[in-house]
């Protein structure tokens, strides 16, 4: 087995991978940018190396710096997490050349999949079902016009190098095509350094369902069931679940077999995800393959009982898959909420800052993958994902019940988070009855007035009044020592003595 793995990432996924390393008796090496010195992944790692300024391009995306740390630390493998360098073929190749195992697919497989248009050509040959459209980048506005007329409006423009909704535009009518094409191109150029855009028939209110695949380096490929990822905002996933409420065993097998064919056509190894759009008649169309571990991988882990990161590491070491397709059984139901540092009352603006109070949920069927802790300041420089809260149950209703209960225990103070959004989603009758599609969240958010959260009831208001008075009476004792010195800047020289005092005051309260 590997002796030491470098994790080229930050946040909750870095912590997730470090934990897997430790579970397998492997040392974990963290890297961090200037603003991440205090980050949780640095605290959890066995070794940690600074790699430069906050800007990702000068730290987490800098291939040379990461490889230097690999050499200095003597790491024999690199886990890229998701985002950053995880789907960068140049990086995978540079690792191979430096003699460090990249835990993921080969550079060649990534390149085949990384460009959506090239992936499409390879898949068409393998007989994979596609949404009608161009499989090549658009050369001109005239060509775009022509293709759009042919397949019929509405159409979707997409960046060939894209992901995360960047460079995507929905066009309802011919009159809007020109401006949408221009803005999609410039957005793609800005985000990916590649302005190539292609066109597809837009499927209105589709479901987004993806299949997890796993391939070893000896030609064995399996699928591990699907994930329903239809709940999205601005093309970013918000809630994911497994299995999908609309996929029956037969459909699971058909989608899984296509996913395996996709992976095999690209010579794919390690963990990957094949994304499909599913229309109202349950026809599924290949969308793209993500050549990395997904954010939402825990829901698959919970319903299959497998640890995907352990398996990624074993596969990268050259081991064979320890099970066959027939051994894979889907059991129970899991739902994940992505906890973001953003303000639901203010148009989901990012909300970095110091976490002043953190209360954590636990109990049956609850898994929490987190990169935050109380007292930590969330930097403004990266993706606002703080943590993932996953509920598991025998069936969907129980998973929803557990997750709802856990959300009520979860409290993040000092910054704004989207926790209240999940309460609304999980209580929504359409979500409860699994009538969801990619338009669900936008529709729900438009129904602004029914917000039970903000409708303060009289009882809670009285409780708040009494508590407000008590906190005022208790003053700094109730705020904690750290808080007091942080907010009023008073120089408390005998820190331990004041801790004792605070404890004494707490005692007096009983």
């Amino acid at each position: 087995m590997f002796k030491k793995i470098l994790i080229a990432n930050r946040g909750e996924i870095a912590v997730r991978v470090i934990r897997a390393c430790h579970e397998m008796g492997i040392a974990a090496v963290a890297v961090y940018s200037d603003v991440d010195r205090a980050a949780l992944h640095v605290r959890k790692a066995d070794e940690a190396y600074p790699i430069g300024p906050a800007a990702a391009s000068e730290s987490y995306l800098n291939i040379q710096k990461i490889l230097d740390v690999a050499a200095r630390s003597g790491a024999d493998a690199i886990h890229p997490g998701y985002g950053f360098l995880s789907e960068n073929a140049k990086f995978a190749r540079a690792c191979a050349e430096a003699g460090v195992k990249f835990i993921g697919p080969t550079a060649a497989a990534m390149e085949a999949m990384g460009s959506k248009t090239r992936a499409r050509q390879a898949m068409e040959r393998a007989g994979v079902p596609f949404v009608p459209g161009t499989s090549r980048g658009l050369e001109s506005f005239e060509q775009a016009q022509q293709v759009a007329e042919q397949i019929g409006y509405p159409v979707m423009l997409k960046a060939a190098a894209g992901g995360g909704g960047k460079g995507m535009r929905l066009v309802h009518a011919a009159g809007d095509l020109k401006s949408a094409l221009d803005s999609a191109r410039s957005e793609a150029e800005r985000a990916f350094g590649d302005g190539e855009v292609y066109i597809e028939k837009a499927i209105i209110n589709p479901r987004h369902i993806e299949v997890q695949v796993l391939a070893d380096e000896h030609g064995n490929t399996v699928y591990l069931g699907e994930r329903e990822c239809s709940l999205q905002r601005r093309h970013q996933k918000v809630v994911e679940e497994a299995p999908s409420p609309i996929v029956d065993p037969d459909m699971r097998r058909r989608m899984g077999e296509v996913a395996v064919r996709v992976a095999q056509a690209a010579g794919y190894t390690n963990a990957g995800t094949v994304e499909f759009l599913v229309d109202q008649q349950k026809n599924f169309y290949f969308l793209e393959m993500n050549t990395r571990l997904q954010v939402e991988h825990p829901v698959t882990e919970l319903i299959t009982g497998l640890d995907l990161v352990h398996l990624q590491i074993r596969i990268a070491k050259g081991e064979r898959l320890p099970f066959t397709q027939d051994d894979v059984k889907v059991r129970g139901h899991a739902i994940e909420c992505r906890i973001y540092a953003e303000d639901p009352d203010d148009n989901y603006f990012p909300s970095p800052g110091k976490i002043t109070l953190l209360l954590l949920p636990s109990g049956p069927g609850i898994r929490r993958d987190s990169g935050m802790y109380e007292g930590w300041t969330v930097p403004m420089d990266y993706d606002p994902l703080l943590a993932k809260l996953i509920g598991y149950g025998t069936d969907r209703d129980q998973a929803i019940g557990r997750l709802t209960r856990a959300l009520s225990e979860y409290f993040v103070g000092g910054i704004k988070t989207n926790i209240s959004l999940f309460r609304r989603i999980l209580n929504h009758p359409d979500f409860r009855s699994a009538k969801i599609d990619t338009g669900f969240l936008d529709r729900m958010l438009k129904q602004t007035n029914e917000q039970p959260d903000s409708q303060a009831d009289a009882e809670a208001t009285e409780v708040a009044v009494i508590a407000a008075g008590m906190f005022a009476t208790l003053g700094s004792a109730a705020a904690g020592v750290d808080e007091r010195s942080a907010t009023d800047g008073s120089t408390n020289t005998v820190e331990s003595a004041s801790n004792w005092k605070a404890a004494a005051r707490r005692e007096a309260l009983r």
């Binding site: 540092a341 303000d343 203010d346 148009n347 603006f349 990012p350 909300s351 970095p352 800052g353 002043t356 109070l357 209360l359 403004m380 420089d381 990266y382 993706d383 606002p384 009520s408 409290f411 103070g413 000092g414 910054i415 209240s420 309460r423 959260d453 903000s454 303060a456 009831d457 809670a460 208001t461 009285e462 409780v463 708040a464 009044v465 009494i466 508590a467 407000a468 008075g469 008590m470 906190f471 005022a472 009476t473 208790l474 004792a477 109730a478 705020a479 904690g480 020592v481 750290d482 808080e483 907010t487 605070a502 707490r506 007096a508 309260l509 009983r510």
Partner: protein, 164 residues
């Protein structure tokens, strides 16, 4: 100790006394049986009668929020004996400030000084955490002043522009 507390525009008079770990409480003259344990800083386990509540106190800069379950309150607490009295009277008339909702970088100025603006129209685009966000005009009027330039780093609460 007597407090005047207002929440959502309603005023409450709260008398609180604490001795030997016991609280006595009168709310608007009505006697209420309460019992409280500070479970940890900023978290009170409260019993009112026999009903139990976990109440959180969230302090952000100068604001204090009280959370009862998933409901958030922004109480204004005045101690009549002290002269300190905070009030944030929102004023729809006269100039209004557009402030940065979070720390970040100004990536675009959408409207120039002197231009007329509709309520809700984007004026400045601030980028943070890979997201671009339009800071919108709180009212219909004229852009009196733009106080930042493209590329500038801003902190939460910094004034970006003034709409008159």
């Amino acid at each position: 100790m007597t407090y005047e507390i207002s929440i959502n525009g309603k005023n409450y008079r709260l008398e609180l006394n604490q001795s030997a770990g016991q609280w006595s409480c009168r709310l608007n003259g009505r006697e209420i049986e309460v019992d409280a344990v500070l479970a940890r800083p900023n978290v009170l386990s409260l019993r009112i009668g026999n009903k139990a509540y976990e109440v959180k106190c969230e302090r952000v800069a100068s604001d204090v929020h009280i959370w009862v379950g998933s409901q958030r309150f922004a109480p204004e607490v005045r101690d009549p004996r002290s002269l300190r009295s905070r009030s944030h009277a929102a004023d729809d008339h006269g100039p209004r400030k557009l402030t940065a909702p979070m720390p970040g970088k100004v990536v675009r100025i959408l409207l120039a000084q002197g231009v007329e603006v509709e309520a809700g129209a984007g004026v400045v685009v601030v980028e943070a955490m890979k997201m671009q966000n339009e800071v919108k005009s709180p009212k219909k009027g004229t852009i009196q002043k733009i106080l930042v330039s493209e590329g500038a780093a801003v902190s939460a609460g910094d004034v970006l522009a003034i709409v008159e």
